[in-house]
């Protein structure tokens, strides 16, 4: 029985093919069970491929993970109902998509379980014993006429074949058989099991993993992350301190580098110091921190002079109350406009104990007077500097190494399926049609060209050893 695999001829014994294509007709002859039959069918696998591919498209057309009212605005009430019911706003995590993936995994497990013993059994049964006529019908074969049957000792013969080999008595002669790469039939299993391993890794990650976000202003420490989906706080178990954040641009205006200089503190002791960039995360105690965003916050330098000549320079971050004790004033920036009338402006909130607070707009560089009770102050914005806040992605994924293991297995499986061939070569010596004869035969299930070279080599060796003519 010949089937085409990978453009290479595979020759498997008949039941082999049956085992592959018609899984439920097990060799033991038990009647097929319909449910198991469907579950182990490649028809189901192909159907699932089609379904997974087709449904995956939906999630690339409808934006994922937006807040629900945006879908209502964009798609109207009818489509919105569909999106909501079918969970299309977060399709890849919807129950039906997960169910499809689960069915895919079950199908894969079922196919593997179902075919494993059958192939394994057939694999063991095939000893390499073949009648001489069959040898001559092999894809590669050559017959040599020897001068006498005893011209080659068994030791000579075995030197012609690569080790190891088996030998049998066949039709007034002796048959030597060598094979290699028989295990390559398991390559497909390595591949399929690896896909299961990847899915298991993903499952581990989704159960025990964690994905969150933290924002840290320069010079500040954070001990909690916000979980991405639930919005809940998640204690890190240590503190992350952002010493400095840098952003650098090319002349073209494109970003060149985002960098946060991070320090990890545990029990108020510094334990790790590392700058992180995009593509260069930091890992500590199973949590990994990735550079993902940043925010620039202006800090307004505010200079105030009171009527009696007292002068104070205050640094005002946005939305933070700063106190000038001597004058009994509280100040804060409510709003900052980086570009208004060609300059920078800030809406500054001013309050003190006795009087109702007020808010005044200041343009950078332009001095203004204001009065609180009996006191008159002159004030101006003298400088605007930036303070950065770095945005980090935080991740814990105990499944990721399982996923990589699966990926490595997949590559190994592909390597075996694509490049490792099952090569078989036979050497028979005996009397045929009254003449001492040597027959060499061989076949491979893939990579025919390489096999031909190998076969020719053996042929040359035989000719050299025996001086035989073909």
């Amino acid at each position: 029985m010949h089937i085409q695999w990978n453009g290479m001829l595979i020759n498997l014994p008949g039941p082999f093919l049956m085992a592959i294509s018609n899984s439920s007709q097990s060799v033991s002859g038990t009647p097929p069970k319909p449910f198991w039959h469907i579950l182990t069918s490649v028809r189901l696998a192909i159907t699932l491929f089609i379904l997974l591919a087709a449904t995956s498209i939906i999630g690339t057309l409808i934006p994922q993970g937006e807040s629900l009212h945006l879908y209502l605005e964009k798609y109207g009430p009818t489509m919105f109902q569909v999106i909501k019911v079918a969970h299309l706003y977060d399709m890849y995590n919807s129950w039906w998509f997960i169910a499809l993936l689960l069915l895919f995994a079950i199908n894969l497990v079922a196919c593997t379980i179902n075919r494993f013993p059958i192939i394994s059994q057939l694999y063991k049964k095939d000893t390499g014993l073949q009648p001489v006529d069959r040898l001559l019908k092999m894809p590669k074969s050559a017959a040599f006429t020897l001068s006498s049957a005893d011209s080659l000792s068994e030791k000579d013969l075995t030197r012609l074949l690569p080790a190891p080999f088996r030998s049998f008595d066949v039709e007034n002669g002796r048959l030597f058989f060598h094979e290699s790469g028989k295990w390559s039939y398991w390559g497909v299993y390595i591949l399929h099991i690896s896909i299961l391993v990847i899915l298991v890794g993903a499952l581990i990650g989704s159960i025990w993993g964690f994905k969150g976000q933290i924002m840290i202003a320069e010079g500040e420490k954070v001990a909690e992350a916000v979980e991405r989906f639930t919005g809940k706080n998640f204690p890190l178990g240590f503190e992350v301190y952002c010493e400095k954040f840098f952003v650098d641009f090319y002349d073209t205006g494109a970003p060149k580098e985002f960098r946060s200089d991070l320090v990890i503190f545990e029990n108020d002791k510094e334990v790790l110091r590392k700058p992180i960039r995009v593509n260069e995360p930091l890992s500590y105690k199973g949590l990994t921190f990735y550079q993902s965003s940043y925010e620039a916050m202006p800090i307004i330098t505010f200079t105030i002079t009171s009527a009696d000549g007292k002068k104070k320079v205050l640094k005002l971050p946005i939305s933070e109350k700063v106190n000038w004790q001597e004058a009994g004033l509280n100040l804060g920036v409510m709003q900052f406009l980086p570009n208004i009338h060609g300059g920078q402006a800030a809406h500054v909130w001013i309050g003190d104990d006795g009087l109702p607070p007020e808010a005044i707009w200041f343009l950078k560089g332009a001095e203004k007077e204001f009065r609180r009770g009996n006191n008159i102050y002159r004030a101006s914005i003298t400088e605007v500097t930036q303070r950065y806040m770095t945005g980090l992605q935080v991740k814990k994924d105990p499944g990721v190494w399982v996923v990589w293991l699966g990926c490595a297995g997949m590559l190994l499986g592909f390597g075996v399926v694509f490049w490792v061939a099952h090569r078989r070569i036979w050497l028979w010596v005996g009397e045929r049609n009254g003449q001492p004869t040597l027959i060499l035969a061989g076949r491979t299930n893939k990579n025919n060209m390489q096999f031909e070279r190998f076969f020719t080599e053996v042929e040359h060796k035989i000719r050299a050893a025996t001086g035989a003519k073909i």
Partner: protein, 281 residues
């Protein structure tokens, strides 16, 4: 005049076009010598393109950016074209058949024409944005494009197969490889592409895990590469286990390549996502 990479690269558009015409003439008029000329042109074009790519690499260092020319749409198109010719030349060398050239070199020429002459595709050397600064860039792009190029050629073979609805004794189509060989070859090429697409997806996952902290985020580009992977998985399983041959696989090869093109361009232009730096601009 100064030999710049862009000039050299746009030149290869015409060399590959010329090669395609020579292969076509050799096929139609059955002049093997013209076919030899086609091979010669393809090899010359390939060398010119290789020099062009290397030159561009050097130029990027001279500009102070210093990165492999695999970072924007222009560079990826050039690389796709280069890879397609590499895979084709390997096949021609192995199979000693030039008719496949008629259906392969046009892909390379078209990609180069689009890269060089579409005003929306800039051939400027751009600096690398932070997300792309990784050693995985080369591994990811090379493996993905080895897959894409193999699929392009498998698509060419699919077209050949459908054109040759049966084995003719004489006439134009008799020069095409026999249906059996074409079918086998197409399957082999699809499997080769599938292997590299898988490696490409894996390297992409490793990289994404390093840059974004997640190896799979259902970003449209990722999702479409998976859709492509499913299409070819169907072709492989249907053939191996259900015995699908010939026409059905040829159609799947075409559908698969449409999916490749959508993964490559469609996602960039029509959908938004994490891979948006691959946009034309």
């Amino acid at each position: 005049m100064i030999l710049t990479s862009s000039y050299l690269l746009s030149l290869t558009t015409f060399i590959y076009l010329g090669a395609a015409v020579l292969y076509l003439i050799s096929w139609i008029f059955r002049v093997d010598k013209v076919g030899l000329l086609g091979t010669f042109a393809t090899v010359v074009g390939f060398l010119a393109q290789t020099i062009g790519i290397l030159l561009r690499w050097v130029e990027s260092y001279q500009m102070g950016y210093g990165h492999a020319p695999l970072s924007n749409l222009y560079e990826s198109l050039v690389f796709f074209s280069w890879m397609t010719i590499l895979v084709y030349l390997f096949l021609e060398f192995r199979l000693k058949n030039r008719v496949i050239g008629v259906f392969s070199t046009p892909f390379a020429s078209l990609a180069m024409a689009y890269a060089s002459f579409n005003p929306n595709v800039t051939d400027e050397i751009q600096p690398l944005i932070p997300a792309l600064k990784s050693n995985w860039l080369i591994a990811h792009v090379v493996t993905c494009f080895l897959g894409y190029s193999s699929f392009a050629i498998a698509c060419g073979m699919g077209l050949m197969y459908l054109l040759k609805s049966k084995d003719y004794e004489t006439g134009l189509l008799s020069k095409l490889p026999s249906q059996k060989n074409l079918d086998e070859l197409m399957h082999q090429t699809i499997f080769f592409g599938f292997l590299w697409l898988s490696v490409g997806i894996i390297t992409g996952a490793v990289w994404a895990n390093e840059a974004w902290g997640t190896y799979w985020s259902w970003d449209p580009k990722e999702t479409w590469s998976l859709i492509t992977w499913f299409v070819y998985a169907i072709a492989l399983h249907a053939r191996f286990v259900r015995g699908w041959m010939g026409k059905k696989i040829a159609y799947l090869s075409l559908i698969g390549f449409i999916s490749v093109i959508f993964t490559y361009f469609g996602v960039n232009f029509l959908l938004s996502g994490l891979h948006s730096y691959a946009n034309a601009g």
